[in-house]
Symmetry: D2
């Protein structure tokens, strides 16, 4: 039996790079040889035991690679094609997908959300030499020759999610937007707000390096919450509130500050992953009478989404490689987890190459 | 000085029908002679001191009447025209109005929401013989001869709000919808869901008379929360959650139940007026990853909105007089407040005629 | 080799019911035993040589049946399940489908439109004993026991298309809508307008029987174009134009009349199949400055669309069997074509049962 | 009686700068002292007799100035405030405005479109020393100190219209867009497409100077229709058609080419002013089955629109002064008309200062 190296979750704070069977493609599936991947904040939650997955699972969900095998029924591709696969792999054929809610893909349609997130969650993931891709017809996005692997690896999740926050917010030309937290997702939300025509983008964080990056990425104003009352400042800058507030962290204070920054009729676009109960303060919510909207977005996936994001990069509108601050081989991925987990050395994203 | 009879708020639990000066129309304004009005749940909040207004204010915000005076610059109307005026009176000319958010009307654009609600809140209201209408050009909706005052009086607020909850929810043909609470607003939300093409409308309340009315109004299923586990029942009926859940009460349990009834990607459309902190449970919100939307709606006003609602009635799609369970003269309005406040005698809405 | 009876196109005005090989399901496919189907106006175009298909093709695209075979990879179904399949069979996995434009399905994404229409067009169709269904996972909609085959057979195309015209028009509560032509599609557009909350629905045709049916289906006003100037009448009834005009025939006069009936900012929703050049008159188009929208809609397909339409029927909102005026066996389908083609005997739709 | 200098239309090809009475502000109105204005293509149509206005009318509709008089009821402004007024002056209070279709403003709601365009059309215009502004409360947009008159004068019409073409097209991140004609409106449509996140913007014109400007303004590709088959080239560049095609000229060939460049499901956003009958070719329209949309846009006006456009300039996203190629005093405006009318000297827009 052929084997490969992969990052396997064995238990809380116990991941190991080890030899596992190499996957093979069944009908409708594909196997890709991974050429670039990265570590996500969600992977940290998994390793720390904050998000439960089964021991024995290969983790990681941001895959770039080369097609190694194509299962029966997958057409229009060649072995050797370079492809990007989104973190979310919609089947395109279930009730959720046919309703246009591909991230909530599930062959049934129960109340369980996030059905479309499979890699490194319910099936083996991308921090490995090879990856089995389900619903391959819907999920393999070819990478043009003019674009490198490094340029697209961050599109699989963080750019798709960050831009998604701007899109779900319904940003329009001339909008004022605040983005709370300028980690990788928040930075991409800042970029997304710029791409959609916001003309006052206020980036909020407590880390000056991240605020400096936010300015480079298109923020008009960067506010350090250690140095000012952010809500007051935003209300002053906007003459009474932003059109759209994007939450990119997943905490009560950032969620609540977003609400407090909204103008009447404004939209809170939430990207964070929350734990425990969120509270909506009475007055920040105008007692329910402010015509406010709160929208949440799970990373959009599928090959058409990836194709569009590749276009964004290829056209020069956005250079995601600015966020790739560190590089490790798959063999050394545990070091990558350490640097990324400790937010050491100004780390934003870590590139992993098998 | 001419006087008129009006319902004046003097303090908590102290309203009096008394003689006050009759208003006159300045530029852009109109005075109407009230022929029909009603009492709203919000009026109860005011009388009970739960929503603060200034002593001396005439309350009430659901006016039907006859034009008595037209101020300079108001064109296209005649003295004597029968008109309906919405509870919310947008100016049409401020930043909020020009952005299409007429309910949040305000000549500035600060964070204070609900700027468009003036009658019986920031200016004198409709429980009187005469009413001064601001921004009259934008707010006087003529009533066709074929339609009676009683048929339209409930359009000013409850039908506009209830339908608004269905509209903000974005209901589509074939949707499954649950409406929590079948008071006047909730019943109108039920009607709105029917009008927009929902094909499974589940009405929830604890009062069998209200549930019976909900069935008459178009609900396919009526659930009494005293007799079943509503969330479980809704999930079973829908095979995993509704497309849209409408909250028409303003409490933590109904808000939370709405969230728990949603399918992934579903919308919670909130109409309630909340007090205190609302909580969003982690699991009901899919930790923020369910592509859920929460939207709130303040009663849409303005003459075009009223014109459309009058069409709904005139076309026979909806008969609001079914909700007018009691009738009082203006002189006896305090009795009306008692019956309505105690939810006595199966009361839904109370008609007041000066 | 097993055979079956099927309606085969041999050339212009030459269709024959004859014996052909019975199909078998490959991976991702299914075979259904047809229990009910019908004849569409498009089939007439094919038979008359107005729409080209290859000789030897089995025609028909409105299938109801029982699952006979399931190909590899199709899950969640059992042999014997009763299913409805839409006229359009999106794959769910191509660029068009993943963009939410399932009717334009095509594994590439060229300029050729209507890629999602396959049955009786590019692959064998439904006027046969058995039908091979491509992309079965996305296209088999189970029929609840409480609903009969006759109740759902018209959902595959005409109801989906007609409702689609109302949906693409963006009809809102209180809208005034005119529907030009009250054939089966136009009648379904009338129903769709009613379902979405239009409160003045004006049905136009030259056949009194169809106008009578339109009134039964929800039209508020029925205009016979032989007896009045329809555009003038519509402008008078609406006080200056409809919000949405639906074209359900495919001719220059109806298209142009739709435009002339629009209010500024109104929407022309076109369902017709046109031949030759359409003209947009300068003045009817406000020289391009009227904020008009013209939208076209190809029948939406896929199992989720069918599920929703079945709900419309099951909830009692719409009874499509009222449109089934004639019944023929598959052996006698040529008689059905004659009656339907000549619009004889007040025919609306013809039911075919193998 | 006070007089002022103004550009008066006396008949075909007969405009004169002459002395006329200075206007005064009635209730709800304002008078502004013009500090900058410009000449629009529509003014050329008027002068040439192609668009009829009454002799004696002052023409021009792109006003920047200083408040000189405020009529009764106009609040929140001071004499001396610098303001921009849109070419379209919605009242905010009629049926069209309250429906959100401010460009179609009209106190009635008849079929006559473009009701919101008054300046230099139905009332005196901006090519004068003073201008009477109707519905002033809705139409005076204050100009921040940091922004000059020259920076905002092109926002009144061409930027609002051009951006409007992009907005009506519903451009999304990653879209491919073609813009036919790179005159001032087309160039602004190109900018609008960029602002909304299009990542392949193809500008088409026959004038190399305009194509060069298009590239500066954000076009990714510029095609000279004298040198290539534009439709073929666009289909090749996009792999089968653009998402949105913007028509910014108003001719049959550009309109038709737009249609031919669309992918199935794509949108033609039309900004041109057409004369005579437009034709929609059968095959370019997929016989009505391509899920195409054709949308038209009249310049959006009102002070909130202007405020947003000023933000676009102030934020540095767009520098409209690049389009101001020539400058004339009001006294010399006829020279301006000549240069602009003959498209001499690479003219794009002409600044007029009284």
């Amino acid at each position: 039996m052929e084997t490969m190296q992969a990052t396997v979750f064995h238990g809380v704070n116990d991941i190991r790079v080890e030899s596992v069977p190499k996957p093979h493609a069944g009908p409708g599936e594909a196997v890709i040889k991974i050429t670039a991947t990265t570590i996500c904040g969600t992977d940290l939650h998994i390793v720390r035991g904050e998000y439960p997955v089964k021991p024995g699972l290969i983790i990681g969900h941001e895959p770039v690679g080369v097609i190694e095998e194509l299962g029966a029924g997958v057409t229009g591709y060649q072995i050797g094609d370079r492809v990007l696969v989104g973190a979310i792999t919609p089947c395109g054929q279930c009730r959720a997908c046919l309703s246009g809610q591909h991230s909530q893909c599930g062959h049934g349609f129960g109340c369980e959300a996030i059905g479309g997130w499979r890699f490194g969650n319910t099936i083996n993931g991308a921090q490995a030499e090879y990856l089995l891709v389900p619903s391959a017809q819907a999920n393999l996005a070819k990478i043009p020759d003019a674009v490198t692997d490094e340029q697209v690896v961050l599109l699989a999740d963080i750019a798709s999610t960050g831009f998604g926050g701007a899109e779900s917010g319904g940003i329009k030309i001339g909008d004022a937007v605040v983005v709370f937290a300028q980690g990788p997702i928040g930075l991409c939300a800042t970029v997304g707000a710029k791409l959609m025509g916001a003309t006052l983008i206020i980036a909020v964080d407590g880390d000056e390096r991240r605020l400096a990056m936010a300015r480079k990425m298109g923020a008009d104003v960067a506010l350090n919450f250690n140095e000012c009352n952010v809500v007051e400042e935003v209300l002053k800058l906007t003459g009474g509130g932003v059109d759209v507030a994007i939450e990119a962290l997943g905490t009560q204070p950032t969620f609540e500050s977003c609400l407090r920054c909204l103008r009447p009729g404004g939209t809170l676009s939430s990207l964070g992953v929350y734990s425990g109960k969120l509270q909506i303060p009475y007055e920040a919510f105008a007692a329910g009478l402010g015509d406010h909207r709160i929208v949440t977005t799970l990373c959009p996936g599928g090959k058409e989404r990836m194709r569009r994001l590749i276009n964004v990069v290829q056209s020069g509108r956005f250079d995601p490689t600015m966020l790739l601050t560190h590089r490790f081989s798959l063999a050394d991925i545990k070091q990558g987890y350490e640097v990324f987990g400790q937010r050491a050395e100004g780390v934003l994203k870590v590139l992993i190459t098998p």
